[in-house]
Every structure is written in C-alpha cells, then in structure tokens.
Amino acid sequence: MTDQFAYPSDREQASADKVSALERLLIEKGVITSTTVDKVLAYFESEMTPLNGKKIVVKAWTDPDFAARVVGDTPAAIAELELPEGMAGAEGEHLQAVANGPGVHNLVICTLCSCFPWPVLGLPPYWYKDPVFRARAAREPRTVLAEVGVELPDDTEIKVWDSSGHSRWFVIPERPSGTDDFTDEQLMDLVTTESMMGVALAGQA
C-alpha cells in the first residue's frame, strides 16, 4: 500500500499555519490589506445569508402573483423586495428559481464544481460540495433524498438541475400544511438552506 490515503497527523494545524503565513505575506506584499479577509467574511455573515432566500420563499408563499414572477423572471422579482444591495452581484448575476408543487420536487446539484447562489443562500454548506453527494444525486436522486429524510411518493417527479452553465439555481419549497395562520416570521423559521436546494422539505428539521 502507498500512503495515498493517510492524512498527516498535524492535518488541521498545518493548514491553519499555512493559510496564516500566506495571508500575512499577501498583506506584507500589498496584494491585500490587513482588513480584506475580515471584510469579505463580514459581507457574508451580515448581508448575504440564507435570510434573503427565506424572505423570497415566504413572499412566494403569501403572494401567488409573486410566486409566478419569481420563477418566470427571478432577478426582476427579487429586485422588488427589500433585500441588501448586491442580490445580482457575485454568484447572483443570473439567479433562477424553480418551484416545488404537487407531484414535483426540484433538486439542485453541481456535478462539475459547487456553483451556489451566494446572494440568496450565502455560502454553500459542506454537503453540497461533497463529491459523493454530487456523484450520487445525478444518478439516484430518489435514493439520496430518502437517505436524508425526504421520502417522496413514487409518482412525484424529481427534477434534477445540474448547474453547468451561467445560472445559479435555488428551490421554492412547498409551504407546509397547517400554517395558514402563521406570521411571516414563523413561516421563515420553516425555510432552511437545505429546503432551498431540494434536499429537505420546508418545516423539516
């Protein structure tokens, strides 16, 4: 056997040391500043988060006309809402929503890399970038969904979207039943990043 599959014993510390040294050098050499990385992270922690996607979904749940518009012309519909400046910025230049409905369930994947709609959902969770998920979801989406707790009726069509072009896709999940008297805030609590990529239902932990 080779040592191909062995990890160095100091795996995480070595990476932490290396990136620290690299960032310091890039600051010293004038490539970035001492605040660049922190400002980038703050942008994603404070403004480009799944809260934007939750607001879009809840608007679609409570306004049928908007629900139609957000699928037909996603950027224009999103621009109607009061969301942070930059919804059409990096990795949001061409957003495209697809809506679940009776008998239809959408699943977004990216088999070549990990394209993700940053302004709507923030940064991708690890499961989305996992080569095993990306490989299996293309061939056996129903099995994969069942493994993560989404048991769909046999006659529900699963539409898998492989993000190989310019669009960045996200899903408008179905509004759970029994939520007619929920406030917008209560409805937003039902929406997760996972439900907006199709690996969970709204209201599913």
Partner: protein
C-alpha cells in the same frame, strides 16, 4: 481523461449520505475563502467586465487574472484520489498557495519561515478592500450579445463528445447522450477562459432535458425523474447528424 469531469453518476460510493450542514468546519477555512474572494475581486480581467471596474487604478500588487475557471482548472487537474481525500477548502489552500508561489508573489521559504509565528498586521490601502466589496455587490456577468441560437425549443440534440480539455463545463455523463431543448436563455454567454473544448467566446446557453433511461440505461433509478443540464451551444449537435 479526468475523473473529476465524470463525477456525475459515479457508482460504488458510500451510502447512506448524511448532510454536513456547516459552511466551514475549521476556522482556518474562512481565511482561504476570503483570500480567494479577494483575488476574484482584484483580478485584472475585471477592467473589461460589464461594470467596468477601475481595476488598473486599484493599489494592489495583484496583477493576474483569477476567476472560478482558475480554481476549477486546478481542481480538475488534481490527482483524483487526492480530490476525494481532501476537503473542499484544503483543495483551495493547496491550489491558491501554489498559484502565489508559481507566479512569484511569495516563495516556499517565506511561507516556511513564517509557519507557526503569531502576527498582527495593520494597514494597507483600503481602496483594495473597496474594490473587492464592489465586485461582490456588482458581480461579473458573462452575458454579452443578443443570442442567435442554432437550436429551437423542442429540438432533439446529441451532446458532443469533444476532445477533453484541461477544464470543461460539459459534465462527462452527458457526452453522446440525446436530450431535448426546453429553454434558450436570452443573450449570449462568454466563459472566463477558452477551455479548448469549445467554450469561451459568447454563445447561446440552453437547458436540455434528459431521461434517466437515456443517461444510465438499465442502471437508471426507477421512478419519474428528469435531469436538466445547462449547456453552452458548443456542446450541442443536431441529433440526426450522428449515425
């Protein structure tokens, strides 16, 4: 031939899946993510982006092009066993560090001598930060001209089996498969680089619908599934032209 181009549909992988919902699993990963975004926001090609960023006037020492294509080309060129072995941001750290070494920004010795040292830095021209955040807010759309698509909605198309390049936007499992055009996007779309397999210059992009039986034959999962891929026109051929 690169395994990474053929990931979709690969069999024999671990199951069941469990979802790691964290975005970062180690704090150090945030730093390499931030460095990558800074490089994208300072890339020298942004002067010709649609927002016409004043990139030549930004007081950064960064002078190269850095886009998703750079990162993806590196990931697709990796030893495939390493590709599966290392976490997402470990791959980024390796590729980005090597880029800065190969292009003369830093040396391996400089990194080695600083490893394990604590430091605090202050300063730098905040116009650099402003450009990076401006890039995040305004983006870099690949949309260019009006489209003159060769194919129409409803057309049957056979996916080209073009010679492989270092980098591609054609998922390998679609090669030589027949699908149906369901949508033509408005406008033409460029790609960051000429990949060598046909894309780069602005061209139409289509959504093509495939049945599981066409893609996977008898190994297809039973049930009402449909797969949609977004494909540049260079990857499509009329279905009838191929015997």
């Amino acid at each position: 031939m690169k395994l990474q181009h053929y990931l979709g549909g690969l069999e024999g992988l671990p199951e069941p899946l469990s979802l790691e919902k964290r975005v970062f699993v180690e704090d150090w990963e945030k730093r390499i993510f931030g460095i990558h975004v800074a490089m994208m926001g300072l890339s020298n090609h942004l002067g010709s982006a649609l927002p016409e960023y004043p990139i030549a006037d930004v007081p950064t020492a960064f002078r190269d092009e850095w886009t998703w294509a750079s990162l993806r080309t590196g990931a697709e060129g990796m030893n495939p066993f390493d590709y599966f072995k290392f976490r997402y941001y470990e791959k980024w750290l390796g590729g980005i560090t090597q880029f800065f070494i190969d292009n003369g920004y830093v040396t391996e010795d400089e990194i080695a001598t600083r490893v394990g040292e604590s430091w605090s830095a202050e300063g730098g021209d905040t116009a650099i930060d402003d450009q990076v955040i401006d890039y995040l807010r305004r983006g870099d759309s690949p949309r260019r001209d009006a489209a003159h698509p060769k194919f129409a909605v409803g057309d049957a198309v056979r996916i080209a089996d073009v010679p492989a390049g270092d980098h591609t936007r054609l998922p390998g499992y679609l090669r030589d498969r027949v699908g149906t055009v369901t949508r033509i996007f408005e406008g033409d779309y460029g790609y960051f680089v000429h990949t060598g397999d046909g894309i780069g210059d602005p061209m139409p992009i289509y959504i093509v619908e495939f049945t599981p039986g066409e893609l996977w034959g008898v190994r297809a999962e039973p049930g009402a599934n449909t797969l949609y891929a977004e494909l540049f026109e260079a990857y499509l051929q009329p279905a009838e032209e191929i015997p």
